[in-house]
Symmetry: C2
Subunit: 252 residues, 2 copies
């Protein structure tokens, strides 16, 4: 058997909740949508969790879609490497969160040299529209194109981690704009979780845990009419566990 080198690489699943205009169905008007849209969450909604992928112009796996990433350099650690590789595909100033989620180390996960992949989860907020190179675009996680190697598994793993963290941390700060109404936040949770959540419950739980804070401002009701909506922001801009049991908190 020929000698195989072992290469260490990073792969980052950058997620953004996006409004895909091409999923608006023919015959539907903007006026007809207001409350029905989110009732169709998860299937058929226009707001979806998307992941950033680039298309391979060359073999191996020419024409398949890959996560941003690449080989770890001798003089950098993994976090530095993930941020550097990502900078080639997306303006990293738009990135609100980046964390290690898993290592994929199956000896045969890619052909040729062995590649051990440290997977990262990255987040970009709803309203950002970072410039992308021509080979790169956002894809709905629910409708991935043909994926390179095990990159589809990496996306699913990162998405599951994101969904789990939405329930016990404030990680949604990375997906939300700086300020938002509860209706927008529900749209984000719905897209990221893959199922609908109740706006009133969401507001109650996140307020009680001090995850979100009202700004005091209100948003105009928009075309759907109704009362002006309260505007919120995330209390913290770094990740934290939001549900330390009351019984288990350290003495303050």
């Amino acid at each position: 058997m020929a000698h195989r080198s072992t290469i260490h690489e990073t792969l980052t699943a950058v997620f953004q909740v996006r409004r895909f205009p091409d999923t608006i169905r023919a015959g539907e008007s903007a006026m007809a949508r207001p409350s029905a849209v989110l009732d169709r969450c998860p299937p058929g909604q226009r707001t979806e969790l998307a992941v950033l992928l680039w298309e391979r112009a060359l073999n191996p796996a020419k024409g398949t879609w890959s996560l941003p990433g690449g080989r770890l350099r001798d003089d950098e650690d993994l976090d530095t490497s993930a941020a550097r590789q990502l900078a080639e595909k997306v303006d990293v100033r738009e990135l609100t969160h980046l964390e290690q989620v898993w290592v994929f180390s199956d000896p045969d996960r890619v052909p040729g040299d062995r590649r051990i992949a440290s997977a990262y989860l990255g987040l970009v907020p709803l309203t950002a529209e970072p410039e992308l190179p021509p080979d790169t675009r956002w894809h709905p996680v629910s409708d991935l194109p043909p994926m390179s190697f095990d990159h589809g598994i990496v996306v699913r793993h990162a998405r599951n981690r994101l969904a789990a963290k939405l329930s016990y941390t404030n990680i949604a700060f990375g997906l939300a704009p700086a300020t938002f109404t509860m209706s927008t936040l529900r749209e984000i949770y719905c897209a990221a979780l893959g199922y609908d959540v109740d706006t009133t419950n969401l507001q109650r739980v996140l307020s009680r845990r001090k995850v979100i804070t009202p700004t005091g401002a209100t948003a105009s009701p928009g075309r759907a009419g109704g009362r002006p909506a309260a505007v919120y922001r995330f209390t913290d801009s770094g990740i934290r566990v939001t549900d330390e049991f009351a019984a288990l908190r350290p003495p303050s």
Copy 2:
């Protein structure tokens, strides 16, 4: 500069809550202890979170203490490697939980060849007494011996992860015996968290979240007297997030 190879290794922090007999102070009798012991949690308690370490007989770093682990083989993935390396130091049948927690990849974390370390967290239940090789012993996390390289940082990182997971998962199943009283469970939480918790709150929170289930049996009150105590078990023997917000649960 000489060429450096890059080696991938695993390092596992195996934790057990242990009763260290040598921390009983002179002049204290068993009868004097009952309720006062845990009020001294964290400092001076006799029940402590311990980590499994082995002493290096040779250089590099001769005489310092290391986490179990070692080099990843070409034909195995990281999980397999961590379990294999661990088997040299401890009977892995005693291990109730093993998970990846982090990758330590600073280019200069060890002298010589570059070593990228995938860190694991392992748990052994309170009552287990696995056989150990002569170079290996349990050390209280609060009082570590001189540690090899960055292994002290790895221990602290894994311990912080364990403490965080105690608040939003059922991970304490890995530290508890098969059945236990609330007094024992409080002892385990107190040692693992590093601060005391209230037994009544703990029982209420864990019962409400169905993390623990009464077995129907009772334990005799022991030397301290009082009523017989209810005996519990963990509902699940695999890890799960125990606090999905009510508002965020998927439709069932």
